[in-house]
């Protein structure tokens, strides 16, 4: 089904939002797309112009290639429950280059898409955490391999979509592969490191083990569309959590690229669900959602952070804020990975068992 065939939504608030937030620079020719708001700290802006007024609605890559062949354009979809979907609302956002030319569209997730993603994550959680640690580690290792395998594509995409230099893009991609690899190794180790046998004074065998907390909502970093995303997803899922990731950043299309990588790494559907869209639109529905167990947030503004903390009390969600490094080099540094990034998303279980004949 194409976007234009999609039935009109009855959701009046969404319509209102669309109208209000529609860029004045958008054409009034019935194009359903809207402009993405300017996102996050302008980390790479020193070497780049800020987006200026669009000069034309054609895709910059829409021409012909070096052989004169007309290209087949890729549609960027979201990954929910193991399927690549458009929004049920049929809305998209636009990604523009430094000159303001349209690079591509990507999906603007609705609150119902979020609801569906949480449902998919919940359905997948029991099965994912029941898999052996070895099996989960094999899947994460595979994901690292697949990032590596798509290295050139990802570098090109980061140049086009995130306006990175080739060196920056390589750092981002290699960092993402290495980070996934590093966390993959934790999958069958963190329990051994974090568990304890507790020397209680009575004749009981008493031990404490970590277990995944459940479904985690992740608000993705704004300035590192691939490495930052991997840095947040990997420590959450390796223990057996499933997640719903809301991506609003300099290049949300990279989240889609990552989802295509994860989808070919043997992840069961629903373990990772990636939504592109507007954090302000989706966050309220996520933080009030009663079937989300924890929230991981990176970046965001003061109001967004405060609203997460306030709303979390309704179902006593665990909240963890990741500090957003302010440079790509900082993201790639080893201090941006830690065993203790797994910990906010686990529960501790202590069991008592008698000892006696």
């Amino acid at each position: 089904m194409t976007q234009t065939q999609k039935k009109k939504s009855n959701d009046s608030s969404a319509k209102k939002h669309t109208k209000e937030s529609a860029s004045p620079k958008s054409p009034s020719n019935g194009d359903a797309s809207q402009e993405a708001q300017s996102k996050g700290p302008a980390m790479f802006s020193a070497s780049q112009k800020q987006a200026s007024a669009p000069t034309d609605q054609r895709l910059v890559s829409g021409g012909r290639n070096e052989n004169g062949r007309l290209g087949v354009h890729k549609t960027y979809k979201m990954w929910v429950g193991g399927k690549f979907i458009r929004s049920e609302q049929g809305r998209v956002l636009s990604l523009r280059n430094a000159e303001g030319d349209l690079v591509t569209h990507y999906v603007r997730a609705s609150r119902k898409d979020l609801r569906d993603a949480v449902g998919a994550a919940r359905s997948a959680q029991a099965g994912w955490s029941a898999r052996s640690a070895f099996n989960r580690s094999q899947i994460l290792f595979r994901a690292a391999e697949m990032i590596e395998a798509r290295r050139e594509t990802l570098i090109a995409r980061l140049q086009e979509h995130a306006r990175m230099t080739v060196e920056q893009a390589a750092l981002e991609v290699d960092g993402a592969a290495d980070r996934m690899f590093w966390y993959a190794g934790w999958t069958d180790k963190y329990v051994q490191v974090l568990s304890s046998v507790n020397p209680v004074a009575t004749p009981f065998f008493n031990f404490t083990i970590p277990e995944p907390t459940g479904v985690v909502a992740i608000f993705a970093p704004e300035n590192s569309p691939l490495l930052g995303l991997v840095s947040m997803i990997a420590p959450v899922i390796l223990s057996g959590n499933t997640c719903v990731v809301v991506v609003e950043n300099i290049a949300p299309t990279l989240a889609v690229e990552l989802s295509e990588i994860l989808a070919t790494s043997d992840f069961p559907g629903g373990v990772v669900n990636l939504l592109t869209g507007l954090r302000d639109e989706l966050q309220p529905h996520a933080v009030h959602h009663m079937d989300i167990n924890a929230i991981a947030s990176c970046g965001g503004n003061e109001a967004q952070r405060r609203s997460i903390q306030e709303a979390a009390c309704e179902s006593v969600k665990r909240v963890h804020f990741f500090e957003q490094p302010n440079s790509l080099e900082a993201w790639a540094a080893e201090d941006q990975q830690s065993l203790y990034w797994i910990v906010p998303f686990i529960e501790w279980k202590t069991a008592w068992h008698p000892i006696g004949v």
Binding site: S137, D178, F181, A184, G185, Q192, V193, P354, I355, V357
Partner: protein, 497 residues
């Protein structure tokens, strides 16, 4: 065997009324050896290269007694070359490499083993005699898992010993046995490399083939030359490694006798040592156990890998109230064990690893008969060629019998009885060994209580012979010291301050 043995071998029909015959028999299902590749002659693997040796000895297929290939026996000079290569690789490359890169090399080895799993399984079975079902489903998957597991540790060492400073030791000399040739190589090499050491490894002289494939894999993984060196040979070669002054760490798996020699040999040197030696594992069946599953565990405990397992459950301790039922069901179960061609996918028990080992089993079984224990052997037929032995059970065994004291290292089980948990624990501990034990009971508190009382490094509750790279393995008492597996398996390869 003696005629007395034949008399003991009552037909199954008489025994339980069940008939395990050939109404529907399994046709031979041999694994094809067509696509396995190996050389006719191997020297050593030193500094990333296969090098020729001087004196060659054959390795045979114990199921056919045919020669597979020839291997060189390294002398002191060749061992010295290997140690120097390891030393140079340690000083020049491996100890300076970023841990994350060491991790990737070890990971590559793990992945390559997964890719070559079938070939490795077949070669392991050809060279060692173990059934293809086990090399395919147990040995080789565990080998890959072991490398993948320790790959993940290489760049996380600071988490293994919080608050301590860790550093690698240098060159590890490693000597491994013939019962799990490639798996023991993995248990030795993977943690050593992860901790930042380089190695000189010596496989057993009867099973050197898959170690040479591991050497090929190291080449394919582009592992820097000298990080892994493999020298072939027997005791003299092993002694040369152990005694080489530039070895910083010795790791040995094998018999307690040789372990003691090694411990004495390195006395007064700076060398660190871990030993994984013999065992005489007690497998304790309480009357409240799930009997059918316990019988399965007994089978798994003693007949896995023809009983060539240091942690084998070779002493069965059964509570008197259920001993008849347990022994009867054990004998029934033994009738469906298939002994024969190790390459046949339906074989449960393959070939005894060597003629010498077969003779040792014969000798010990004869001692059991002579000392008055009652022998039962399954009625299966044995192949005419090769080294094979029937699954065997001794009942009416006394704690003083040699078959209750000595490690037989074959498919021979000794059944003893007990009346109380206290007695079971005492009997289980009444041995200089302390590697493993099994406890079968439906009562959790009893499992923990007995497990706590047993002086053994691995205690299995309601299971037996389980292995996992995440789980430490090793012995108490004369079964050795040090652990392999888990984060505990890193410690013997690290200086932890």
């Amino acid at each position: 065997m003696t005629t007395k043995t034949q008399e003991e071998k009552a037909s199954t029909r008489d025994m339980a009324g069940l008939l395990f015959g050939d109404l529907w028999d399994y046709a031979p299902a041999p694994e094809s050896t067509e696509h396995v590749r190996y050389a006719q002659r191997y020297g050593h693997f030193i500094n990333g290269q296969f090098v020729d040796g001087k004196d060659y000895f054959p390795t045979i297929n114990p199921a056919t007694e045919e020669v597979i290939a020839e291997f060189a026996a390294a002398d002191e000079a060749e061992v010295d070359r290997a140690v120097q290569a390891a030393r140079n690789a340690y000083d020049g490359v491996w100890s300076k490499m970023k841990p994350a890169e060491r991790a990737k090399y070890i990971y590559r080895i793990g992945r390559l083993i997964q890719e070559k799993a079938r070939e490795l399984s077949i070669l392991e079975t050809m060279d060692g005699g173990k059934p293809i079902r086990e090399s395919r489903d147990v040995d080789v998957p565990l080998v890959a898992a072991h490398f993948l597991y320790y790959a993940g540790w290489a760049d996380k060492l600071q988490y293994a010993f919080p608050g301590a400073r860790v550093s690698s030791l240098g060159v590890a000399g490693q000597v491994i046995p013939w019962n799990f040739p490639l798996l023991m190589a993995a248990w030795k090499v993977a943690p050593a490399l992860a901790a930042g050491n380089t190695v000189v490894l010596k496989p057993a002289e009867t099973t050197p083939l898959t170690a040479m494939k591991l050497a090929e894999i190291c080449q394919e993984a582009d592992l820097p030359p000298g990080v892994v060196n493999i020298v072939n040979g027997a005791g003299r070669t092993g002694a040369a490694i152990v005694n080489h002054p530039q070895i910083d760490k010795v790791a040995f798996t094998g018999s307690t006798d040789v372990g003691k020699i090694i411990q004495r040999a390195i006395a007064g040197t700076h060398k660190r040592l871990t030993l994984e030696l013999g065992g005489k594992g007690a497998n304790i069946i309480f009357e409240d156990a799930a009997i059918d599953q316990a019988v399965e565990g007994i089978i798994q405990g003693i007949f896995f890998n023809q009983g060539h397992v240091c942690c084998a459950g070779s002493r069965l301790l059964v509570q008197e109230s259920v001993v008849d039922e347990v022994v009867q069901k054990l004998r029934i179960r033994m009738e469906s064990l298939r002994v024969g061609d190790p390459l046949d996918k339906n074989t449960d028990i393959g070939a005894i690893n060597s003629r010498a080992q077969l003779e040792k089993i014969h000798e010990l079984v004869q001692s059991g008969v002579d000392e008055g224990a009652k022998l039962y052997q399954s009625s299966c037929s044995l192949p005419e060629r090769g080294f094979f032995y029937r699954p065997s059970v001794f009942t009416e065994v006394a704690q003083s019998h040699r078959i209750a004291q000595e490690e037989i290292f074959g498919p021979v089980l000794s059944v003893l009885t007990f009346r109380t948990p206290e007695e079971a624990m005492k009997k289980a501990n009444n041995t200089p060994y302390g590697l493993s034990a099994g406890i079968w009971s439906d009562k959790g508190s009893k499992l923990f209580s007995v497990a706590g009382a047993i002086r053994a490094g691995v205690v299995w509750g309601n299971t037996y012979n389980q292995f996992d790279p995440a789980s430490p393995f090793g012995g108490y008492k004369e079964s050795g010291f040090g652990r392999e597996g888990g984060l505990h398996g890193l410690k013997p390869y690290l200086e932890v301050r």
